[in-house]
């Protein structure tokens, strides 16, 4: 469903992504792993139109979305859970969730329905429905960010390092929820530091180094890979 062909991205004059190609099929969960500065976040920003691609293209369901603006990409059915959560601190949990759907024509009709299903996945959000997003703890905000992304009925959910700064129990929790979400006809693109947890969710993974794909394989083979074990799993 998503295809990236020969993508180059630069900030100022420093090139961060080099000739990168990757693919995500329907109902597939794909991981992107790699050290800091390897270009994971930049890749995601490029897909979402938050930075512009130098060359190459991003194709979504057969249509090139390379030069689309972010809001139009979201409308196509791609939702992002950003690393910094990017919530609306002065709005309540519920308002934040509603906004996730309010500007997506298809999702707008199903706001109430979606709300209920998200409350099922994250009961804590229902409990805190009226609390202002800005006053919640980091972990809760992360849940809210995931919930908000799901409100748009995405076909592709992109998560940028969702586990950063989360306590161990919440990390486990979050990835369990991701497994549930996966079952609901949603493709997932997951960029993670926490490779151990990430591997439990994904079907296939790419390892990014210095803005290039170092290697790609399915989840099982990746977890047995020596380099991965040494560098990311600390074994």
């Amino acid at each position: 469903m998503l295809e990236i062909n020969n993508l180059d991205v630069s900030y100022d004059k420093i090139q961060v992504i080099w000739d990168l190609s990757l693919k995500i099929s329907n109902n597939e969960a794909v991981g992107i792993f790699g050290p800091n500065g390897s270009g994971k976040s930049t890749l995601i920003k490029a897909i979402m139109g938050l930075v512009s691609a130098g060359s190459g293209e991003v194709i979504y369901n057969g249509e090139s979305i390379t030069d689309f603006e972010t809001h139009n990409i979201t409308k196509k059915g791609i939702a992002l859970v950003p690393q910094r959560r990017e919530l609306f601190p002065l709005m309540s949990v519920k308002e934040n969730l509603r906004l996730g759907a309010a500007y997506i024509p298809k999702a707008r009709k199903r706001i109430e329905e979606n709300l209920q299903s998200i409350y099922q996945i994250f009961p804590i959000l229902k409990e805190r429905e009226k609390q202002l997003a800005g006053t919640m703890s980091g972990g809760q905000q992360r849940m809210l960010a995931v919930g908000r992304a799901l409100m748009s009925n995405p076909k592709l959910l992109i998560l940028d390092e969702p586990s950063i700064g989360l306590q161990p129990s919440l990390v486990t929790d979050l990835f369990k929820k991701l497994n549930e979400i996966k079952k609901q006809d949603v493709s997932v693109l997951l960029a993670e530091q926490n490779v151990r947890q990430g591997l439990k969710v994904i079907d296939r993974g790419y390892v990014l180094e210095n803005g290039k794909i170092a290697f790609a394989d399915n989840a099982e083979k990746l977890s047995n890979n020596e380099h991965i074990q040494k560098t990311y799993l600390g074994l």
Binding site: N36, E161, L170, Q193
Partner: protein, 238 residues
Amino acid sequence: MPSLETKNVVKKFGGLVATNDLSFSVDNGEILGIIGPNGAGKTTIINLIAGTLPVTSGKIIFSGEDVTNFAAHERNQKGISRTFQTVRPLDDLTAIENIMIGALFGQKMGLKDAREVAKEICKLIGFNNFDRSIDQLTVLELKKIELGRALASDPDLLFLDELMAGLNMEETYELIDVIRKLQKRDLAICVVEHIMKVVKELTSRVIVLDQGQIIAKGPYEEVSQQKNVIAAYLGEDE
């Protein structure tokens, strides 16, 4: 004599109690782990001890001196240093100049001496790109700068606030080695971390916080078995 001792420290934000009746101590040469769920008050404690926030009540004793009413910069000059959860390098200064700040003001040195001190610290933490500007540095290097600046004020007590967050394992081990070296210099170190591997490897003792209170203390191996700690923080997974 412990390096740091807090006595019944309470901090309230409006009506909200952030830390409640907190008492603990750290000795020189010891590494204490502070763990707990997000929002438990870990960073608040650092802010209280480093002086970025005033306490509502209670006492903070450092090297036998009551520093409760000292301003943040005075506490730093006395020997309390910290790193920040999100790295906060100073953009318009080069890498080494960022580190020099600690020596210039924490130790009240001149420019020349401060540069020498900064160079020595760079050697210690394994950092070579002295004159790079900040936007050219990797995350690991930024973390090193953060640590270096804290060290440059020659602290007796050092707080590391999620220093390892966002690093991969290889990078994490590199920093663990650095911290071990520091321990040998007889520093008292407090580590706030979510990565249990780091806590396990480094600390001799941990305190577990939940909702501003200490719910458990002792060596990590013991604490991690306690039911309340698992329920509030660790989860059932590993």
